[in-house]
Symmetry: C2
Subunit: 455 residues, 2 copies
């Protein structure tokens, strides 16, 4: 946990921004794997953590703005339960550590919500993403599950996005800790990659490293010789010389801040000339994007800058043709770069994704595009000092997609389909780092990781 | 997957046992961590796997016994989705591999269930343990969530328990694979344990090993110098010479069969004389229990046999007194052995726990006790050849519990509370192996693991 005043100040800021009514923050519960009591590792909800710092399951926090009261709802363990779990401090202790003095059992919550409803006091809550939360809210707010998403509080979402978007120095230090562990995971992957080893043999070691340092993975590791598929996880595939490994992984620190890095490197230790050509294009796009980032610039424009670099490079290889800006405007480049340049990073690897991209990555006036490729850009809005973002351009040769586009005759004035066939067995390349937006521009987070492995 | 006839035969046996109506088996979905699309590793429902072998999320299987039809419900991916996931074979392929020829989209399922309801055809389903399954069944079966547990089909539960309790040779081979990986995890823990290392530094490496071999952990690793708490997980605690590490861990194979072993060993490499005394008592209980196991014997009596050995040993140490059998009958030993001797092991580490202990571990005539200690014995019924069970006696010195019992004046004729205080900082010792019940008695599964580490 951070120091107590941090949480008190965050909650005061939140109350001020939301203005009136009740704010209900739902903590997460344990998630069952193959039977109720065999559980995945517990992951607290990030907004709940942001405002309380309490990392335990089955908690609910109610902030009554109108009456200026704060109550934490949760149950203490009995001695018999502690025979199984070990000693667990009464909830009043962590509550006091974040400045909450009122603690009640969960059973006291539904009637308070019911009373608020009778008084027509608004209950602000965030869009639920876990089914157990949906089941609870359905009952407590007398709202059918299908309406819970659309009835979530936009003022609450906007207030929390505004706060969590700007990272404090202490938060940045935590993210750098996560990035540095991720650096070590990447180096471990490069060290282990060799002819004959399986993808999951490497991925397992990376997970072990993250857990050994007291954290977890911030997302399921993508470690694959089929890097053309954007979220292809590690499998039983055996690595062969001549192939490239795309490793996109991240550690989450014990305080739940994420790192997220990608490197693409050759199994044999050196790229083929063809691989090196494409790698250099991705690297040029990465460098152009980083140079372009500064406060006030739309991240969508940083994305476009990277796309233009990719198109120029693809034109030099004979894969694309025509006007560069026009190709990007029409989305032709998305045949080889089907996703966005990056996203917010924080307690969540796609930070605040559960609050909605419309609020996290866009604004009331800047809406997300529906164009293939651009619709996967999670962040479009103007950068501000304190934002932490990933920069992750890539080139991905997906035979099924190329064939589908060719069959539909899409963007024939920009794409040389004949040439594209030479890359059907190429795979994919991505380079990704994490950056803090500063008043001067941006700063690489963490100790830095070799960006040309195998050159 | 096993060979196709295995699944066909299992389903035929199931249809015969249930007799009539529809059987609905719900596959599991992906579970969200901190936002919808950031997911834990997928774990299929074990009964769904047992009857289909298909290891993918969002599937449902409907078996119409009255009309002898079988249908798998699930949706295929679009090309655009496969840009993200990589190639995924159409569902018809794995369906054919387990002998199911009829595949429909999930949207076709609710109306079929509705039609069955109109025809008063019974829909047999298992007790749901995941909230997303509860939400779906609530809607599809028009049954409120609170009634879903009690309306689950007892004939279906009994039929599946009967089948899954008896492991085939191929299943035993898979379990042994899981046990052998678990052996390697245990050896790794013994190798890493040393003054100054944290619990989670070791636990992370064990998890890495399980994942590296293509599987997962079969349950969250218990690795602690506070072994007196039965399910205390690994934390930031630093290991010190003089302490013991209790490591209870298990690998799950790629086909989802579990290993589950416990060893307790000294951080320094050698036990203190006091630790060795207690260790020998637990080992004697372990050996007595193993010698006692054979078909027809109640596992509850194997448990009692182990308990009596523990009491004898505790009497020799001066911790207990009085008639041994009477002490066990009254549950006095449970102050130091608060749980059961073992449980079924299979695809689930507590095999079939979601189907209910009343059916898995007990029978219509042999009910589970409500006595403290004995009520945590998951398996009581008579052993049969083909059962796979754990044997895991232990001694746990929980100061909070000893003080509570002493204050209540419990079992003063059996317990020397004055002496028990000498063990307040002792911790806990458990020894656990996995056994197959054979016609001759039992057989240790796996290659075997040192049972006296540090002697």
């Amino acid at each position: 946990m951070f120091e107590r005043p941090v949480y008190i100040e965050r909650r005061q800021q939140l109350m001020k921004a939301v203005g009136s009514g009740l704010v209900l923050l739902t903590g997460n519960e344990d998630s069952s794997m193959n039977y109720k009591d065999n559980i995945y590792h517990f992951r607290q909800d990030s907004s709940f953590l942001y405002f309380t710092g309490i990392d335990r399951p089955n908690l609910f926090f109610l902030l009554d703005i109108d009456n200026n009261t704060e109550t934490l709802f949760g149950n203490d363990l009995t001695i018999e339960e502690m025979v199984w779990t070990g000693y667990v401090a009464p909830l009043a202790e962590p509550a006091a550590a974040c400045g909450i003095s009122d603690v009640k059992p969960v059973s006291a919550l539904p009637s308070l919500l019911e009373r608020a409803r009778q008084r027509s006091q608004q209950v602000h809550y965030l869009p639920p993403y876990r089914p157990e939360t949906i089941l609870k809210l359905e009952e407590w707010l007398s709202t059918p599950a299908v309406l819970l998403q659309e009835n979530a509080s936009v003022p609450l979402i906007k207030a929390i996005v505004a706060q969590r978007s700007i990272k404090s120095d202490a938060e940045i230090a935590e993210i750098e800790k996560g990035v540095n562990t991720t650096n070590r995971m990447q180096l471990k992957a490069m060290e282990l990659a060799a002819e004959g080893i399986t993808e999951y043999a490497i991925a397992g070691q990376l997970q072990g490293l993250a857990v050994s340092e007291g954290g977890q993975l911030s997302f399921p590791t993508i470690l694959t010789v089929n890097g053309q598929y954007l979220h292809n996880h590690a499998g039983p595939t055996v690595l062969r010389n001549g192939q490239m490994v795309l490793c996109d992984c991240g550690a989450e620190t014990a305080m739940h801040y994420a790192g997220d890095l990608t490197r693409t490197f050759p199994v044999s230790g050196s790229f083929t000339p063809k691989q090196k050509e494409v790698y250099k294009i991705v690297l040029a796009a990465y460098e152009a994007a980083v140079a372009f980032m500064k406060p006030g610039v739309l991240f969508r424009d940083v994305h476009f800058e990277a796309c233009e670099q990719l198109v120029k490079g693809l034109q030099a290889l004979g894969l694309m043709k025509g006007d560069v800006k026009e190709a990007v405007a029409q989305g032709a480049h998305a045949l080889f770069f089907q996703c966005g340049l990056g996203h917010m990073l924080g307690m969540d690897v796609h930070d605040m994704e559960n609050l909605g991209e419309a609020y996290v990555g866009y604004t009331d006036t800047l809406k997300k595009s529906t164009q293939f490729g651009l619709k996967s850009l999670r962040l479009g809005r103007a950068l501000e000092p304190g934002f932490v973002v990933t920069v992750e351009p890539g080139l991905y040769f997906v035979p099924e997609l190329i064939q589908a586009w060719e069959a539909e005759g899409k963007h024939t004035s920009f794409i040389n389909y004949a040439k594209a066939k030479d890359y059907f067995d190429f795979g994919g390349i991505r380079i990704e780092d994490d950056y803090l937006v500063t008043s001067a521009g941006s700063r690489l987070l963490g100790e830095g990781l070799i960006r040309k492995p195998g050159f």
